[in-house]
């Protein structure tokens, strides 16, 4: 292991995007290691990722976005990486922003950096329901923690080893880790900051954690999880 930083890409049937994404990251940050967590894809995601020069961690079954993320966290801890960046495999996140996220984690003493789509103008468009959901979670987070975060559901994040040590434990909510994770870290006294990033529309609309069939459950679960996170003692 030459680098102390690992980029993890949770991916489920992303054969159309995965190679380009890995090549872009390697071109921009040649010294950073890349691990793709193939979440039981039925297409050539794993083979293409491996061919593009990434480590591939394959789930035997489709376990979901949160489990894929935690597999990446556990791999990073097992390999003793000190920093980790997570980026979605569907092409929504711009690899050029990885450097900005890492700079804050490494130089600014921040524990978790969130790539926010709402801090600058960009061409990101999403459904009105999702925007309402994000706003509701933002208000609940503010009420429960006092933390003011614009983009509470972003999957584009960078973190240091202290956060990784929390995320590999049983407290990590692996079904839908979003605003409840921010609340958890905030309650533990970790420093969280947002950085503006460019976010592209998800043209195919098939990202593993944006399945519209799960939307209602997601909203219910997230609100419940946020209140339970506040009630628990860690």
């Amino acid at each position: 292991m030459a680098s102390d930083t690992l980029v993890i890409i949770p991916a489920y049937n992303e054969e159309r995007n995965i190679s380009d994404l890995i090549h872009s990251i390697k071109q921009l940050y040649p010294s950073i290691d890349i691990a793709v967590i193939d979440d039981g894809s039925s297409d050539a995601t794993a083979r293409l990722a491996q061919g593009a020069g990434a480590w591939v961690l394959s789930h035997r079954f489709n376990m979901g976005y949160g489990v894929s993320l935690q597999t990446g966290y556990k791999y990073a801890v097992a390999k003793d990486y000190q920093c980790l960046v997570q980026i979605d495999g569907d092409g929504q996140h711009d690899p050029a922003d990885i450097g900005a996220l890492l700079a804050v984690v490494k130089d600014n003493g921040t524990d978790l950096v969130l790539g926010s789509r709402f801090l600058q103008q960009n061409d990101y468009r999403t459904s009105i329901f999702r925007l309402i959901g994000i706003h509701v979670f933002r208000v609940i987070l503010k009420l429960l923690s006092g933390q003011e975060i614009k983009d509470v559901t972003t999957g584009f994040q960078a973190m240091n080893r202290k956060v990784l040590d929390v995320f590999v434990s049983d407290v990590f909510p692996y079904d839908y880790p979003d605003a409840d994770v921010i609340l958890l870290l905030s309650g533990l006294g970790y420093r969280i900051k947002e950085v503006p990033v460019l976010m592209h529309p998800n043209e195919e609309g098939k990202s593993m954690h944006r399945n519209p069939l799960n939307a209602l459950y997601y909203i219910f679960k997230m609100i419940l999880s946020m209140f339970l996170t506040k009630m628990r003692k860690y």
Binding site: S58, R60, F61
Partner: protein, 122 residues
């Protein structure tokens, strides 16, 4: 309680007992899941043979008919079974998640087992 009803109820309870014990004997059902079903069979036999007790329980919970009391406790029993299964499924989900993650990480650490290392170092 009419004799015919008593015979039917006892026959059902004994059948439950035999089926559960046979499933445990054949290792198709673990002992830890059998106790709730065996308890149900026992309760059914006791309430059938000791009808006065069923009448007292019916009066105690404010039900009008003994059959209502029986249905009430049947629903309570099914809820308990469902809760027990939900707890177990939650634990099993955690275990499957941990095992899946461990296998993925071990394969990545040992490319000969899963051939998951990068094929292009550049």
């Amino acid at each position: 309680m009419p004799l015919r009803q008593q015979i039917v109820a006892v026959a059902i309870a004994i059948s439950i007992f035999i089926i559960i014990l046979e499933l445990v004997r054949k290792r198709k059902l673990r002992e830890e899941y059998s106790w709730l079903w065996l308890l149900t069979g026992t309760c059914l036999i006791v309430l059938t043979v000791w009808y006065e007790l069923l009448l007292k329980i019916t009066h105690l919970i404010g039900a009008v008919l003994p059959t209502s009391a029986l249905f009430f406790f049947a629903i309570i029993f099914l809820m308990l079974v469902c809760i027990q299964f939900s707890i177990k499924i939650s634990k099993l989900t955690d275990h499957v998640k941990d095992l899946t993650q461990e296998v993925a990480i071990l394969k990545a650490a040992n490319p000969s087992a899963g051939n998951s290392g990068p094929s292009d170092k550049g």
